[in-house]
């Protein structure tokens, strides 16, 4: 059975092999963008670092939708954490599930074990939220883990298979209707990719449903798609989606979901395949720490990212609610988590050296936002520079390749995208796990 982490005794033992046992102990929980950046930036710290994650891999979440839509394989967007940190001698990677924190006793708790810390960094991310309707999760799964992605891939591909042999025309329409809730980047990217997949598959691979069209509906409660972008990019996104055959329903709030469809007030969309991309909720770090959380469950931290009253505990990434000096919130983006990780690591390094150092408050250096709608259609907003179309898509592709971890992944993803662009084929159209739709 996998325990959470080593007990004090074996931690001391491990430390003994690399240095004196009295070294400062830093525990980082979570190896997403924030946690991994923190760990890497502490590579030369005179400290014993333990990085705990419940997965053995770092996941490049921005490309998760491509696994869900059969464009990429899970292995291409994930890397084993311990391989990434292989050469970092002061760091141990531990596979385990954290269940709480003993704030007074300075130890992380889980699976009956304690991992003591001098400094704690919590970077446990967020999961999808159903705004009090957790019963919708079964019919409309969200997309946060590789398992989620493979499960959505199975549902989407199985729906086409089931439509091919469905006798009842109404059921066939339900099977060929895909509803994505939420028009943020994930929702937009999912809708575009499913539309492209359906168009290609129905044209080439099926017989009975060859003449039909997949109906892809993107539902958004707010007034525009990609609300974080400039209005003209939102407009472009809507038009680009519509060119792909996606119906974009704005100002449409979901009032009910079941496994036969979704209710938007009076209107009902009959569908066997729903995807939830509408909301996130932070991991339960606030409950572990017994401190204040915002409505999304995020820990409200000080300007230096510490927990109020606990300068030894940092919370970063999607788990932290950070207000900057100008009052604007730090967005839940990978670059923000990375910058927070780097900031926290630098603060810890200064403390370890005992250097006279007063941290300025964290401020996010917004590098820009970008999203893709489909083949040769992307939107990019870098401060005042904005562009879209083929150029936006190329820029999006290059940026994502660049930030993907691992030479092999960068190389094979580039290659797969090139092949897909040239052949219109998606390389990962496997139905695995339970056969058949809604599982």
């Amino acid at each position: 059975v996998v325990g959470l982490a080593e007990p004090e005794a074996s931690l001391a033992g491990a430390a003994a092999s690399t240095g004196p046992t009295a070294r400062h102990r830093i525990v980082i929980v979570g190896a997403g963008f924030g946690g991994l950046t923190t760990a890497k930036a502490l590579a030369r710290a005179d400290a014993d670092i333990v990085l705990i994650d419940r997965r053995n891999h770092h996941l490049f979440q921005p490309l998760l939708y491509q696994v869900a839509t059969a464009g990429l394989a899970p292995t291409q967007i994930a890397s084993p954490i311990r391989t990434i940190l292989r050469h970092q001698a002061n760091t141990r990677v531990v596979l385990g599930e954290v269940e709480g924190v003993d704030v007074a006793g300075k130890a992380v708790l889980g699976q009956g074990r304690r991992v003591p810390y001098d400094t704690l960094v919590i970077a446990t991310g967020a999961t999808h939220a159903y705004f009090g309707h957790d019963e919708w999760a079964a019919a409309a799964p969200g997309l946060k883990t590789l398992e989620d992605a493979v499960s959505i891939r199975r549902r989407v591909l199985s729906a086409f298979e089931a439509a091919e042999i469905a006798e009842d025309p109404a059921e066939r329409r339900r099977l060929l209707t895909f509803v994505i809730v939420g028009a943020g980047p994930t929702g937009v990217e999912m809708a575009g990719a499913i539309a492209e997949l359906g168009r290609r598959a129905l044209k080439a691979d099926f017989r009975a449903i060859r003449g039909e069209k997949a109906r892809v509906v993107l539902v958004e409660a707010g007034p525009r798609a990609l609300a974080a972008f400039a209005p003209e990019l939102s407009d472009y996104t809507r038009r680009a989606l519509e060119r792909l055959g996606v119906e974009v329903k704005l100002n449409a709030a979901v009032t009910a979901i079941d496994d036969g469809g979704v209710q938007l007030g009076e209107e009902r969309l009959e569908s066997r395949t729903l995807v939830w991309a509408a909301g996130v909720r932070a991991s339960p770090a606030a409950a572990w720490l017994g401190c204040e959380a915002d409505r999304a469950g995020r820990v409200v931290v000080e300007p230096d990212l510490t927990v109020p009253g606990h300068p030894e505990i940092f919370v970063i990434g999607d788990t932290a609610h950070v207000r900057q000096e100008d009052g604007s919130p730090v967005p839940g983006l990978a670059p923000a988590a990375n910058q927070e990780g780097a900031y926290v690591a630098s603060l810890i390094l200064h403390r370890l050296r005992g250097a006279p150092y007063r941290a300025g408050p964290f401020s996010y250096n917004g590098v820009g936002i970008l999203a893709t709608i489909g083949r040769a259609a992307g939107v990019v907003q870098l401060d005042s520079i904005r562009f879209n179309g083929l150029l936006g898509w190329l820029f999006w592709s290059i940026v994502h390749i660049f930030f993907l971890i691992g030479f092999r992944n960068r190389f094979t993803v580039s290659l797969d995208w090139m092949i897909s662009y040239l052949t219109f084929e998606r390389g990962a159209r496997l139905i695995t796990g339970t056969v058949g739709p809604p599982d």
Copy 2:
């Protein structure tokens, strides 16, 4: 819900769109090597062909062990069946589970539906067999599907993770001990790959268990490894395995298995990770047809591969027991299934043309056998030509790339093998699904 296949009405409807409805109906069950070859060889047949499989993908089983040992991703060794047969207008691909055959009424049955046939080809393969000890399956899973492979990958990788944080030295040894039962090609390939994985991972990626060695034990009831090969190749295989650090136990019959280890008569091997590669059992086609089966459950067919008394039903591949004129059995190999598929298709084509044709009995044109032990170590036996070592390994690699289906798979697998060879890294070290060993 995915139904088995189209009902008669919709089959007639589908046929109407491609030709007259009175066309000969050929149903092929199973899209492994045998079934897929049959379907492809019937591409120009004046018939309506339905190919039924319970998976949406054709699986290249000879490389399945590489998925189980984190060398390749599932998507690299599997292709969607309907994409493979996309351009074959006379063939429909149906995702569904067959549960029986109405031999008198000439229809395949499953999930409450009937698929009528004039000619039936059964190519449903085999699964692993525990010789009456099905209770061993939970502790010692076999390797036949992608799900099996991902599950074994999870167990193997999780065992290293659990060993890294285990406090009890005895438990750590159990976690670092891997037992593979059966020294056929799959068992040999698994043992070699796990030994290489363990050697590399323990040297580079772990901390607490860095100084330790993974113990890999290959257990075989018979007197040699790769018994189908010439004795000198068996000897080479044993030596090559031992060079990799694998303990090869010959003449060692398993008498009991539990989740803490395996019993070989008086001797006990303590291990948390067992893999079963010792026996296969045919799919239940004999029960569907109500005909004679051999001890491995295979249908005993006529020399022309038809079921006795039913010239319209063929059974091929691992589901068929075929004796050739010289009395020797046809081996359960991919080339044999392919040749049987081609033979059956040609026989059906002649019958369809009403040509005066009397089939000679099927005879297997043995092309040779080959297996790999690990990096730069393979064995090849082509009739009287035998070689091993680096040359055997290169030959093995080229043959497997050549027979892999799909340009993209050939290309990415070649590439991944090249990168692995140069870097010693395995590219697919993901633990997905339930976290933690034995699930």
